[in-house]
Amino acid sequence: MSLVEISNLNAWYGDKHVLKNINLEIPRNIIFAIMGPSGCGKSTLLRAMNRLLELNPNAKVSGQVKIDGIDVYSDKIDITWVRRQFGMVFQIPNPFPHLSIYDNVAIGPRMNGLVKNKSELDQLVKWALEKAYLWDEVKNDLKKPASMLSGGQQQRLCIARALALKPKIILMDEPTANLDPVAASKIEELMLELKEDYTIVIVTHNPQQAARVSDYVAFLYMGELIEVGETSQVFTRPVHKLTERYVVGKIG
């Protein structure tokens, strides 16, 4: 069974139909890229998975998203549980600027009651920061505000924040779009490392990035899923004409 199974997923903002009957399976322990020109619905697709989309009162969703076989849109499900299964990293690094580096990582486990005491929490925070390749840079500044970090460090802090909840999958919405090339390549390295233990979905409008980091890739165009497959396959022998034009940079 794939980790995530999406079937007949549709999404609207008001009357605007932005995701059109998406069917998609995401296997475990791989990096899965969703690529497509901006405005094609990539962010919406991510937010439909962890039900962040319904924060927008105009958004409507139909269809099914299952994680480990559990339908996240089922009536009986606890929405906070759903969101905890999906760690999320956003396009603009968004640590809580008023909280310390430590508290940014600790706030999730604390609020969800995932730890019993302070030393357990300390360990979890350290573990998450190490996983996010940030520990060595911040271990002496844990009490300092997150806002003092550079953009790339802030984004890695956000990754640590997501990891601390021990999610089943990490969703990254153009995580490097607002970073300089050095910081961006650090994040890409980190993703390759995290793949050992996690499944990562990365949204990108940049086909080169998808080619560099992903094992599987889906091409989304104007709300429709055009093509899905192993990355090497899709980039060397695309089935669909649109995909071919996109990967050589003729669309987007």
């Binding site: 962890n50 962040l52 924060l55 009162p57 906070t80 549980w81 969101r83 905890r84 999906f86 760690g87 999320m88 956003f90 603009i92 968004n94 640590p95 809580f96 600027p97 008023h98 909280l99 706030i107 999730g108 609020m111 969800n112 505000p145 806002s147 956000c158 924040r161 997501a162 909840l165």
Partner: protein, 299 residues
């Protein structure tokens, strides 16, 4: 080029004029009040007397009254202003939002004599019957509630003040709350927080605005005159309980200025009160600014 110059000059003129007026007020406060300080020294602040016949003045009671009513007002207003701001920006449907906000802004701009009338004839009897008497009857052993209440007293003034400053404090908090980047709320929800946990986290994010709102409101409460004068009791004694009748510095000035010129030292005494009010207000504002700054540095 030329109009830019004119703009610059008029701007400078405006700033100079404003500064001159402020400095002028401070000078005249000091200048007109120093006779009372020469006469009584620190006793003007530390004693409780208002005896025009003997020209003996000590304004400890109104000073305490100002502090007590402001403290009551701020302790009631702070939680309610925060709640109102959250209610207006998170809970009510967006169709009703601007209506509620307009009502709140309208309340903030009502003339204070209207609050005074309403406080005297509506609020005071209700508070007296349903809050003060029960508190006194059941908890009268606590010094705070020990005095048998009359409808107008320090507590009534504090509650009325809180009602007057809630819309103002709340609108500052609301502005800050609605300006929170959507980005941050998404981050909070993505961590599996409940709506209430998100609100709590976001209140932390805007805490300096909350401090600012509360302290600016406190400044207003301390200076508020008309409404307080109508419900505070206007009696010159050292309060033993919040149910005592009392004075505030501004209500003292409002009540006493009509006959002040008949006496040699009453005008300086009233100016002295004004100078003290000004100084306390200044200190409150400085503390407020300091708090805001410390919060900002910490975050």
């Amino acid at each position: 080029m030329k109009s830019g110059k004119i703009f610059q000059i008029s701007l400078i003129l405006f700033i100079v004029t404003t500064l001159t007026i402020v400095v002028g007020i401070v000078i005249s406060l000091i200048n007109s009040s120093y006779p009372i300080f020469l006469r009584h020294g620190f006793g003007f602040i530390s004693r409780s007397v208002w005896n025009p016949i003997e020209e003996d003045y000590g304004i400890l009671p109104p000073l305490l009254g100002t502090l007590i009513t402001s403290a009551i007002a701020i302790s009631i207003a702070t939680p309610l202003a925060i709640s109102l701001a959250i209610f207006a920006s998170e809970i009510i449907p967006s169709r009703l939002r601007s209506f509620v906000n307009n009502v709140s802004d309208l309340m903030a701009s009502l003339p204070s004599v209207i609050y005074g009338l309403w406080g005297l004839y509506v609020l005071a009897p209700i508070l007296h019957k349903y809050v003060m008497l029960p508190l006194h009857n059941y908890l009268g052993f606590i010094p705070l509630f020990s005095v048998k209440p009359t409808p107008t007293n320090l507590f009534t003034a504090g509650v009325l003040l809180s009602i007057m400053i809630i819309p103002f404090a709340s609108s500052i908090i609301r502005e800050a709350y609605t300006a929170i980047p959507y980005n941050l709320k998404e981050a909070a929800y993505s961590l599996g927080m409940t709506r209430w946990e998100v609100v709590k986290t976001m209140l932390g994010y805007i805490r300096s605005a909350i401090f600012a709102g509360v302290f600016l409101a406190l400044g207003r409460a301390m200076g508020e005159t008309m409404a307080v004068a109508m419900v505070v009791g206007n009696i010159m004694n050292i309060p033993k309980s919040i149910f005592d009748m009392g004075y505030t510095i501004s209500s003292l000035i409002a009540n006493q200025f009509p006959n002040a010129e008949a006496y040699k030292y009453m005008v300086p005494a009233l100016y002295g009160g004004a100078l003290i009010l000004f100084t306390v207000g200044l200190i409150i504002n400085l503390i407020g600014l300091h708090l805001v700054r410390r919060v900002m540095v910490k975050s």
